[in-house]
Amino acid sequence: MKIVGLSGSIVGSKTRTAMNYLSKEISEKYPEVEFNLIDLAEYDIQFSDGRNYLEYEGDTGFVSKQIMEADAIVIGTPIFQASIPATLKNIFDLLPEKGFRDKVVSMIVTAGSPKHYLIAEQQLKPILSYMKAQIVQSYVFIEEKDFYRKEIVNDDIIFRIQRLVEDTIVLTETYSSLRKAKEEEYWF
């Protein structure tokens, strides 16, 4: 199973911090999973110009191919101006219309204010649905007050990340085995 963690911002540290906890949880509990963390802050990604993702080169080509080859993607995103950041939206724009078909997608959201709680529900999930993702419905929402010096200080958040990892892996296993069984029923 291939899982990509996608840290969707090029500024700030909260999302990346949360994604580090996620990486650690996956590598400790599920060493058989091939996990890659992509932090957009470490890449130079161009804006989508509408071409097929196979035709991008450099970092843009690398990141979009990594995502397209994954069985599951854990998206980490901050909320800026009541929205996911443009850097994350650009990743969606680089991918095919049904880019998340047969892929599981789960979410970790960090925000400066509890007022942003429903942004993932009302903005991010519709995008993922449109792109045909199998969505892990519960996401982890982390506020400013849960962080201190690039660490998560609220144990409840740690528990929620643990549950998110388990849910992501269970749904990926379940979905791919059901899909495999269904495809074997076809005569071709």
Binding site: K98, W187, F188
Partner: protein, 370 residues
């Protein structure tokens, strides 16, 4: 008011309402053609890939066999990327022009956006002369855009490049002496584009990707439309064709004079089950390599239904589908794409044989206009 309206109707009836300009004779029924993009992919069943030379020669042979089977049209498209061989599609068409005698030939499509319309017209007029008046152009915008970089164009101009160059191509087709100014090419002053085709002009179609918005653009220009139908319900494409005809009519063109063609996956085998089984690995692998995502089995399995636009099945099933599509669309030409993903030559030969002996007689019998 009533009297005036009658006069107008009478005037329209007096104008010749046929598709002669596009070399279509509806008394002979729905035209059947084959088209290739020049796919050059390893056979997913064996992992082996034939050489580009062998593939190109096989395409020329297929055109000859198509002609012998009585197929109306054979066309070759340009795709400037890995897994394709007919980038120089006009050169391949020229060889086909020489190797055949009566089958109509054309492109599917010519990416006019990244070519010079003058050179394109010179090429096709020459192919028309070599073939004794059998050449046509289907001009498209490209579904993959790597060729913009390869050929030195800015993809930001995707739409403007096509519209300007397509307009110029149509103008060259209509006028022997051209005066023209545009953004993407040097102006033409009293220019003659030579040679002229055998009958003075060529049938020029606009390739349409399947959306109503794209079809409507062909309607605005009053040009024949070649509509790609990759999958889904045939009924969906009826609304696309209706939108095209409606817009053409509202812009002063008579839809009765504008041919409509459709294109899509095609494969026949003894049973529909076998046909799907034989075709699927090629479709799936071809899509993966060239578009980055496979073709879902679930969607392909629906091709078993008569209402699906994918013409894969037993000969009888495919005949019924094509007739059903003709009933819905009232189209003039169907182009079968049977070599997608590099279907092996022997299977293609077998398919051409079945088209000639079983499919063509049936569809002509039921679609010929009396």
């Amino acid at each position: 008011m009533v009297g005036k309206k009658n006069k107008v109707t009478l005037f329209i009836r007096m104008v010749e309402r046929n598709m002669k300009e596009y070399r279509i004779d509806q008394s002979k029924g729905l035209e059947f053609g084959l088209y290739t993009l020049g796919d050059h992919i390893a056979n997913p069943n064996t992992g082996e890939r034939i050489s580009a030379q062998q593939r190109i020669n096989e395409i020329i042979e297929l055109a000859k066999l198509a002609e012998q089977a009585g197929i109306d049209f054979f066309s070759v498209g340009e795709s400037h990327q890995e897994y394709f061989t007919t980038q120089a599609h006009t050169v391949v068409l020229s060889a086909i022009a020489q190797a055949t005698e009566k089958i109509k030939i054309g492109s599917s499509s010519t990416i006019i956006s990244t070519s010079d319309p003058v050179r394109v017209y010179e090429d096709f007029a020459t192919i028309d002369l070599i073939s004794d008046g059998r050449a046509e152009i289907v001009a498209g915008r490209a579904s993959r855009i790597g060729l913009f970089e390869l050929l030195g164009y800015n993809v930001q101009d995707y739409e403007a490049l096509f519209e300007e160059k397509f307009d110029l191509l149509l103008k060259i087709n209509k006028e022997e002496v051209i005066n023209w100014t545009g953004q993407f090419r040097q102006s033409l002053k009293n220019a003659k584009v030579l040679p002229r085709p055998k009958e003075g002009s060529l049938p020029i179609w606009r390739a349409v990707g399947g959306t109503p918005a794209s079809a409507m653009k062909a309607g605005y220009a009053g040009v024949p439309m070649m509509l790609a139908t990759l999958g889904g319900a045939a009924y969906h494409f009826k609304s696309v064709i209706d939108a095209y005809r409606e817009v053409a009519k509202n812009n002063g063109y008579d839809p009765e004079t504008l041919p409509v063609g459709t294109t899509g996956f095609f494969h026949v085998a003894e049973t529909t089950q076998d046909a799907l089984k034989e075709m699927y690995p090629f479709i799936n692998e071809g899509m993966k390599l060239t578009n980055g995502q496979g073709f879902p089995k679930q969607a392909f399995a629906q091709a078993i239904d008569k209402r699906s636009v994918i013409n894969v099945g037993s000969p009888q099933e495919v005949i019924e589908k094509i007739l059903y599509q003709h009933e819905l669309f009232g189209h003039q030409r169907y182009l079968a794409q049977m070599d997608f993903g590099g279907m092996p030559y022997a299977k293609l030969v077998k398919n051409i044989e079945i088209i000639g002996t079983e499919i063509l007689p049936a569809i002509r019998k039921y679609t010929a206009q009396k």
